[in-house]
Symmetry: C2
Subunit: 148 residues, 2 copies
């Protein structure tokens, strides 16, 4: 399994929104061109970001505006915004029918839950440490390298 590409698409979009901030016509079609997906995908991802309060948009009006500075938007914010993982169950998909008549079967879920949560927490903690400013800086650094 893998975390949906919606996540990297969202990071790409926010980076592009900032990078092309002063340009006209940074609409869903332009962004779709940069990301390499259908404009409707861009609009739905931006829709999720808007619901999460990360960007502002105006229906009918081109583009989107970041609601916060880049260093206040973390990977975790985006990961949550675009529903990267199942909200109800979390990162791990537990098999659904362990046998209640078996001592292992009826207790394994409880026995594992805390450990699975610890793994997910470790991952999410790291995501909270990484901001879009980090990505922006790395992107600009790569662009500068090209110039040489």
């Amino acid at each position: 399994m893998q975390i949906t590409s919606r996540f990297t698409i969202a990071v790409h979009i926010i980076t592009a929104l900032d990078y092309f901030r002063d340009m006209d016509r940074v609409n869903s079609e332009f962004l779709a061109g940069s990301v390499g997906v259908n404009p409707v995908i861009v609009r739905t991802v931006i829709g999720k970001l808007r619901e999460a309060g990360l960007v502002h948009t105006l229906k009918g009006s081109s583009g989107a505006e970041l609601a916060r500075p880049l260093d206040e938007i973390t990977f975790y914010d985006i990961y949550e915004a675009v529903d990267s993982v199942n909200e109800d169950e979390g990162l791990f998909h537990f098999h659904e029918q362990p046998n209640p008549e078996c001592p292992v079967g009826r207790n394994i879920h409880k026995a594992m839950d805390g450990r699975l949560a610890a793994v997910q927490n470790a991952m999410e903690a790291e995501m909270k440490r990484i901001t879009l400013k980090d990505v922006m800086e790395d992107t600009r650094a790569e662009i500068l390298k090209e110039a040489k």
Copy 2:
């Protein structure tokens, strides 16, 4: 997205193999009964565990034997054994067609790769800390609680 239930199934199987160690006929059908899935699923999961060197089996002969003590089998060992995530690409699925003619598009991948790896590493590090002995102890504790 979610990590395949093959992972929790594998943990369940190993726990059951240990718990019912002294019982006869702990075959794929018995285990399938405890886990609540088809016996063929059990055999394929055990097959992966065998390929990874975590259990020994003998074709035609019932059951499986743990290759190492429980405290030397980590969540990470199992997660790797059962191919919980894509081997080539890792935990995150990067969108596949960023535009090489766009400065952001042709650099975003390089700019993100290190950060994505850091997230995956954080998760895997936590998985390496958790052993099947931990799960076994928690399971037995839950079983004891029932007795009261």
